[in-house]
């Protein structure tokens, strides 16, 4: 043991002091049979103690349950607004916005590219007017909002700020997260607009803007979810995600921002897949690795910089179109893994999501599923309840070992820089190749019967015809096109043109921040695509090399 390392007794004493200070929920912390249980078991470091393997806070869910954040978005802004209100009325505690594919790609609803995709897989947002409808009647100072958007994240964040300020809510009061994780777009989700380097410049501009003006806003949600959905292994999800995180840290530090100014507002987003123990090991390893790297490599001093706080979503890709009701069981297991893994917020997938966007009933069952995990299973009473178990500790170490091997490879690629290594891995097809290989390996194993997927390659009796799917009718597209045309007609075109010129000017000046001129443009009701194009003239576009 190193000389200054605290003893177990000292760790426990420090933990108990933290717990004595913690504000706890007023419920009995006991089993359903009435046996009182301690807030943690086993050895330290305990939850809230470096390197945070066992949790980011001492009291974990005894103080506050994870945020039940259900991702929703479809059709028009009004449709989604109604779903938001329904989720809030049913005990949802945060909002999460799904945008349609044109919005995610920075295209307006009237673009030829958007035909057939308007409002299909999320909500269409073309201008500030749509953002006003989306959050109409919702007090944005009282909810935390997550917005899943990346390529045009700066513009959508600007619209959210502009809507709030029109309603008298100052930007500094806004709490939430914008995904804004462009690296994983090139690696997995493929919703990029500009090439990597200018895209990262926009991300660092947003980090600087939110650090200065939006203290309750998470500027980047570094996301492994999509990497996993695209077919990676658990360890690849972990490693690519954290490497992307290190890359943003290096980019922001290179832009002159102190690590402790922005790192506390970085958050993460992981997948909770079906291999229960592997997932729990992954979550624990994520916290440990992030804390170590931020402290030892990037010199972070603020404890909050070291905390890997993360959102979790159950694995959409694990849901089967066959016998979809059984997905409820899969989701429950995955939700439990997320809770045992110490997640800060959780989205549970709806059972019908392998077929279509969820119906209202399916979304409610999904929310109820995590409510059962939270309130009935007792999992919220004890932090890191599996910590100390030999298998879980081994799995945590194994995840870390595999991740460190990948970091070493990226460092090699980048001549000592993770940021350059990530750029290089995007350029040379490393990430997409690794993911495609893992995905195909899995498919072959399922195909050969080496892996059983219930209702797909075994236990297939009992299939019924599909019923009750959510359908988005074509009137959504017509409605949205008319809405956009109306906004364009009513706005002051000269003001729009001037504001867009300001955006282009800021994009061309590497010392400028693009956020203020984008805010001006959206306030003038410039469309999403107009702002995208105003920067595209400077930044160009990205086209992926098509490799299998």
């Amino acid at each position: 043991m190193a000389e200054n390392e605290p003893t177990q007794a000292e760790l426990r004493a420090a933990y108990d002091r933290e717990m004595a200070r913690a504000k706890l929920r007023e419920i009995p912390f006991e089993t359903m049979s009435g046996v009182p249980v301690d807030s943690v078991y086993g050895d330290g470091p305990y939850p809230g103690q470096y390197p945070y393997t066992r949790g980011v806070h001492a009291s974990m869910y005894r103080s506050r349950l994870w945020t039940m954040r259900m991702f929703a978005g479809f059709g028009t802004a009004e449709d989604t607004n109604a779903r938001f209100k329904e989720l809030l009325a049913n005990g949802g505690t945060g909002l999460s916005t799904a945008f349609d594919m044109p919005t995610l790609m920075g295209r307006d609803s009237d673009s030829p590219w958007s035909t057939g995709e308007v409002g299909r897989a999320g909500v269409a947002v073309d201008t500030l007017a749509d953002m006003e409808d989306l959050f109409g009647g919702i007090d944005t100072s009282a909810v935390s909002t997550s917005m899943t958007i990346n390529g045009p994240a700066a513009i959508v964040l600007a619209m959210y700020v502009a809507n709030a300020e029109k309603n008298g809510v100052p930007r500094k009061a806004l709490a939430g997260t914008i995904q804004n994780d462009i690296f994983k777009e090139y690696q997995a989700q493929k919703e990029y607009i500009y090439p990597p380097r200018p895209s990262v410049r926009i991300v660092t501009d947003m980090i600087r803007f939110t650090a200065a003006e939006m203290p309750k806003w998470n500027s980047v949600s570094i996301s492994g979810y999509h990497i996993r959905e695209a077919g990676s292994t658990a360890a690849q999800e972990l490693a690519f995600t954290l490497a992307n995180g290190f890359a943003y840290v290096e980019a922001a530090m290179a832009a002159g921002v102190d690590v402790d100014v922005f790192a506390p507002r970085l958050s993460f987003f992981f997948n909770s897949h079906i291999d229960f123990f592997e997932e729990i090991g992954k979550f624990r390893a994520a916290r440990r690795i992030w804390a170590r790297w931020l402290k030892e490599r990037y010199g972070a001093k603020d404890e909050r910089s070291l905390l890997c706080r993360f959102h979790t979503q159950t694995a959409g890709v694990s849901l089967t179109a066959q016998q979809p009701e059984i997905n409820i069981a899969r989701v429950a297991i995955q939700a439990l893994a997320g809770a045992i893994g110490g997640t800060q917020s959780l989205h549970t997938d709806s059972f019908d999501e392998a077929l279509a966007l969820p119906t209202e009933k399916a979304a409610r069952i999904a929310l109820r599923t995590q409510q059962i995990v939270a309130h009935e299973t007792g999992v919220a009473n004890v932090a890191d309840p599996l910590g100390g178990a030999p298998f879980i500790e081994w799995m945590t170490d194994e995840m870390e070992r595999q991740a460190e091997a990948i970091f070493a490879h990226l460092e090699d690629l980048g001549n000592g820089s993770i940021l350059e290594g990530v750029y290089a891995g995007i350029e040379n097809g490393y990430f997409v190749g690794e993911i495609a290989d893992a995905s195909y390996r899995f498919e072959r194993e399922v195909n050969a019967g080496r892996r059983i997927i219930v209702a797909v390659n075994d236990f297939t009796d009992g299939a019924e015809p599909q019923k009750d799917l959510l359908r988005i009718d074509a009137t959504t597209e017509e409605y949205q096109l008319k809405r956009l045309a109306d906004v364009k007609l009513k706005r002051n075109q000269a003001a729009v043109d001037e504001a867009l010129a300001g955006v282009t000017k800021a994009a061309a000046d590497p010392t400028a921040n693009v956020m203020p001129p984008i805010l001006e443009a959206v306030n003038a009701y410039a469309t999403l695509e107009e702002v995208v194009k105003a920067m595209e003239t400077v930044f160009g576009t990205y086209v992926e090399k098509a490799i299998i």
């Binding site: 594919m101 057939g116 995709e117 897989a121 279509a356 995905s439 195909n447 098509a546 299998i548």
Partner: protein, 140 residues
């Protein structure tokens, strides 16, 4: 029609903005492993770009992957674009297509629809069958 396997040339593409390419890449490898020649166009293709690739590559079939509920617009558009270019090439749609839409897609001229969970053998067979049926239809 001989029973000898031949090197079918299959174009695989994502039409439109949808970026979900996991399934299409798996299908690409399945067809390649089944002895077909895969022309993988990848993401963000238009009906025009697919038509011109089909002409240049002398394609036997076109596979489109759709995961964003845009299939009822995009797939029929593809069929129409091929017809307009006087190309008689079967279009196969894979991805997330509700059962009710499968018949509608057939009516719109889509040769086959492959859903989630299709085995590798099924994927290769459906492509071969679609090509054969198309040739038989052309001879009739």
């Amino acid at each position: 029609m001989s029973d000898q396997p031949e090197n079918l040339r299959v174009i695989l593409a994502k039409l439109g903005l949808d970026g979900h390419d996991r399934g299409l890449k798996v299908v690409a490898r399945i067809l390649r492993d089944a002895g077909m020649e895969v022309i993988y166009l990848g993401l963000r293709q238009t009906t025009d770009s697919i038509v011109s690739a089909a002409e240049q590559e002398d394609a036997d079939a076109i596979g489109l992957s759709m995961h964003n509920a845009g299939h009822m617009t995009l797939a029929p558009n593809m069929v129409k674009a091929l017809k307009a270019a006087e190309l008689d090439i079967p279009v196969i749609v894979g991805g997330i297509v509700p059962d009710d839409d499968v018949a509608l897609l057939h009516e719109a001229g889509v040769a086959a629809v492959l859903g989630p969970g299709a085995s590798a053998e099924e994927v290769a067979r459906v492509v071969r069958d679609a090509v054969q049926a198309n040739r038989a239809g052309a001879q009739a």
